[in-house]
């Protein structure tokens, strides 16, 4: 197995996976749109075919890259390209969440006080449309859409979840140090622990949703509070789910001995992603639950 030469550029082989990926994404979206428009069966079938195509594509494409990487095809320049790709992908994710956080801040700073009669704009709405609505947070608006509800407090499950995610970041870092020290046992143990912590977080989150829906009447329909709460925690939960799946893949790859002390970018990329998800949660805990 010859080492790649750093002075020669590397261009990967042709691949059928990108076009399969686009077909999968197209079918997924087409199915989802049909389902939303009331074509239930057709929509679900197309969506499922799309989802399976995407999953199959991931196995195929990533497996292909892993094989190339194990053959030692990638030089340090390719490695840097991968790192930049992941960095800027996470950067784009930050802005995706920023849209929802921005919406939350805008609503809480401007919209709800205006509806409550503050400022030039507020006076009109409050006098002519919703007389006597007093601004407070949480709120489901002047027409109390979704009916009376109770918001979850921060100091129960959300606090436990914060501790779970924070400790999962620590266990992941310990696993990374173990990988760099060449300590397989410790690596697999702590990576497994990280997965468990992530899965527990998800379980508790599901429980919290169930509790909110069944006991607190706090649903997606609960005005602006329910909307911002569920879109932020929901997309975060989706990211934790993806992160956990990625960690499981890393665990399997560690168990198979894919990584050595120097070459384990896939592991690092997943770790970056996990820490990013962790930071988003801290913002959620502060801005959605506490404040």
């Amino acid at each position: 197995m010859s080492q790649p030469d750093a002075n020669v550029y590397y261009v990967p082989h042709k691949s059928r996976w990108p076009i399969i990926a686009t077909i999968g994404m197209f079918l997924f979206m087409l199915g989802a749109a049909n389902w939303l428009n009331g074509h239930d069966i057709a929509g679900q079938v197309i969506l499922a075919v799309g989802a399976l195509t995407i999953i199959g594509m991931m196995f195929g494409w990533f497996g292909n890259v892993i094989r190339e990487s194990m053959k030692g095809n990638f030089n340090s320049q390719v490695d840097t390209s991968f790192r930049m790709g992941m960095t800027w992908f996470i950067f784009s994710e930050v802005f995706f969440f920023a849209a929802f956080f921005g919406g939350l801040f805008y609503v809480r700073t401007f919209v709800v006080p205006w509806l409550g009669g503050v400022g030039d704009k507020g006076v009109l709405t409050n006098d002519y449309i919703w007389q006597g609505f007093s601004a407070a947070w949480p709120t489901n608006g002047p027409e109390a859409i979704g009916g009376a509800f109770t918001a979850t407090g921060p100091w129960g499950i959300p606090l436990i979840n914060t501790l779970l995610l924070l400790s999962s970041s620590i266990t992941l870092t310990i696993a990374h140090h173990a990988l760099r020290a060449g300590d397989r046992k410790r690596l697999i143990g702590f990576l497994g622990l990280t997965i468990l912590l992530g899965a527990t977080f998800l379980g508790l989150q599901v429980h919290e949703y169930w509790d909110s829906y069944v006991h607190l009447n706090m649903t997606l329909h609960s005005g602006i509070y329910g909307a911002t709460f569920y879109i932020l925690t929901g997309f975060h939960g989706l990211h934790v789910t993806l992160g956990t799946i990625m960690l499981i893949v890393m665990w399997l790859r560690c168990a198979r001995g894919h990584f050595d002390r120097e070459h384990h970018f896939a592991f690092e990329a997943v770790a970056w992603y996990w820490h990013f998800v962790d930071v988003i949660w801290l913002c959620l805990f502060l801005f959605v639950y506490i404040l």
Binding site: A33, G85, K121, T125
Partner: protein, 536 residues
């Protein structure tokens, strides 16, 4: 070294049509796909524009129902922005950035193929809405709720199409950033790069920062429509204006996404045909960066009349007018580059000069609208339509066409017809002014945009504008002919340098360049940089 070098070379031979175009990892082939796709979409979006101008030829309803007219204006905007201007720039980036920085290809070639192939599917979803119950989206390309939520089946398709376009452009931009930062030939410092690379480096950053925000905005819309949330419903404590804020936080940087790469192209073309170094290269780089920064803090100038607090109106008015400073730097630098140069007026230079003039007109009307009190008059009239068509047609599209005429001989290895390309230019530059300049008068006189019918007082200028529109549309068929002739039939071979004062790495390769541009890093000669600035 042998195994990798072979890996690079062995794929050049014997590939089927399907392999070459659908499984490609080649930046040139993918760049060609992008350019062809946007060319096709130019005629789709242009077809919508022709129908719009046909309806507006005379007052009264002639050809279509008002709702269909609204579908056309909305889809015209979406197709032209996401299907023409953006993919054309990405196509040019694909072709030129590896050539300009001495790289073999893009940094992530498979991702590159993915970014392209998402687009045809996204537009299949979007354009299919014309055939659905309730028709295509008809609330304008800005898709403001609550109006857009009144649409039929199209909403879900439109939202998912936007998601796909967003994924495509984010992945494309990640690739461009990684290519520029990681694959530059040794010795090609950032401040030795051609302006086109600089403009795309900064544009990619904008794309990655704002396309996810658009995805967020339309996702909230999806939830409001289908899952009973109240983001944009004041009765539930939400606010329809919140959509406008989130949308324009994307939308304003988007405006610069559609013009900065054109600035880059013009900054390549003008020095070549002025036979002088680019005036103030570093100032150009800093100006591009400041425009990008400012683009994040001006978004509410699209919403002056929606009922913003006075403090917001004043802040966004001043921040908007600030943009005129770095933009002015650029315009003055192009003019100063030409000053006392030994100018020659080859076709790319003609388009570049037209760009400078028309973009400046559009820029000035932009400054007019930045003034809040004045904007109350211009808002929702044909004045704004004239403004953004001057910057997007006279600016972005003319920039793209200048780039195509500048680099087409490099891509194809052949020269295009001088006569027909000049006819294309003169016909375009006259008709585009016949088309859009009267719209200023119409807008100032009070003609509203997005209306199929109008007061008879506006009849004359509308007819003039429509004639200009048909003329401009028909003229673009010449472009198709010029490109097809150049690629397939032209007998006149292009030299490696093509233009006698063209510098930069792309001109050191033969025309057309080899399948993988540079297999070994080229040596950088500081006296041969594209911008000619040797002071760093």
């Amino acid at each position: 070294m042998s195994s990798t070098a072979q890996a690079i070379h062995h794929e050049e031979h014997r590939q089927s049509f399907f392999e070459r175009w659908f499984m490609s990892t080649n930046h040139k082939d993918i760049g060609t796909l992008y350019l062809l796709f946007s060319f096709l979409m130019l005629f789709v979006g242009g077809g919508f524009a022709m129908l719009i101008r046909a309806e507006l030829f005379e007052p009264g309803l002639q050809l279509m129902q008002p709702y269909f007219f609204n579908e056309l204006t909305s889809m015209h905007g979406l197709v032209m922005i996401f299907g023409v201007i953006m993919p054309a720039f990405v196509g040019l980036a694909n072709w030129m950035i590896p050539l300009q920085i001495g790289a073999p290809d893009m940094a992530l070639p498979r991702l590159n193929n993915l970014s392209f192939w998402i687009l045809p599917f996204a537009f299949a979803l979007l354009l299919s809405t014309f055939f659905m119950p309730g028709g295509a989206p008809a609330a304008g390309w800005t898709m403001y709720p609550p109006l857009v939520l009144e649409g039929g089946s199209s909403i879900a398709f439109m939202i998912f199409a936007i998601h796909l376009m967003g994924i495509s452009s984010i992945l494309g931009s990640i690739n461009i950033i990684a290519t520029i930062l990681n694959l530059r030939a040794p010795g090609l410092d950032l401040l030795k790069m051609p302006m086109f690379c600089w403009s795309w480096l900064i544009t990619s950053f904008l794309v990655i920062a704002v396309m996810p925000v658009l995805a967020g905005a339309v996702t909230m819309m999806l939830f409001d429509r289908f899952f009973g949330t109240n983001f944009f419903n004041a009765a539930g404590g939400g606010d329809p204006v919140m959509y406008q804020h989130v949308f324009w936080f994307f939308g304003h940087p988007e405006v610069y996404i559609m013009i900065l790469p054109a600035f880059g192209i013009i900054s390549e073309v003008v020095p070549t045909f002025s036979r002088k170094p680019l005036f103030g290269y570093k100032a150009m780089v800093y100006a591009t960066a400041s425009i990008a920064f400012l683009s994040f803090i001006v978004w509410s100038h699209h919403m002056f009349t929606v009922g913003l607090p006075l403090g917001a109106e004043v802040f966004f008015m001043y921040s908007t007018m600030l943009i005129a400073v770095p933009t002015g730097v650029k315009v003055f630098n192009w003019v100063t580059t030409m000053w006392r140069g030994s100018l020659s007026f080859e076709v790319p230079m003609l388009w570049a000069i037209a760009f400078i003039v028309l973009f400046t007109i559009g820029g000035f009307s932009g400054v007019m609208m930045a003034l809040v009190p004045a904007d109350f008059q211009y808002n929702q009239t044909y004045f704004i339509v004239a403004h953004f068509h001057y910057v997007l047609v006279g600016g972005a599209l003319f920039g793209i066409i200048a780039g195509v005429y500048y680099w087409l001989p490099k891509w194809s290895g052949h020269m295009y017809s001088n006569f027909w390309s000049k006819l294309h230019f003169w016909s375009s530059v006259i008709s585009v002014n016949v088309l859009f300049f009267p719209q200023h008068f119409l807008g100032l006189a009070g003609m509203p945009r997005r209306m199929p019918d109008y007061n008879v007082a506006f009849a004359d200028w509308n007819m003039v504008s429509s004639i200009g529109g048909f003329w401009f549309g028909a003229t673009q068929l010449i472009f198709v002919g010029v490109v097809i002739h150049c690629v397939f039939f032209s007998k006149q071979k292009a030299t490696a340098r093509v233009w006698d004062h063209a510098y930069g790495l792309e001109w050191t390769l033969p025309s057309p360049p080899p399948h993988h541009s540079f297999t070994l890093p080229p040596v950088i000669d500081d006296s041969q940089l594209a911008h000619g600035d040797t002071s760093h």
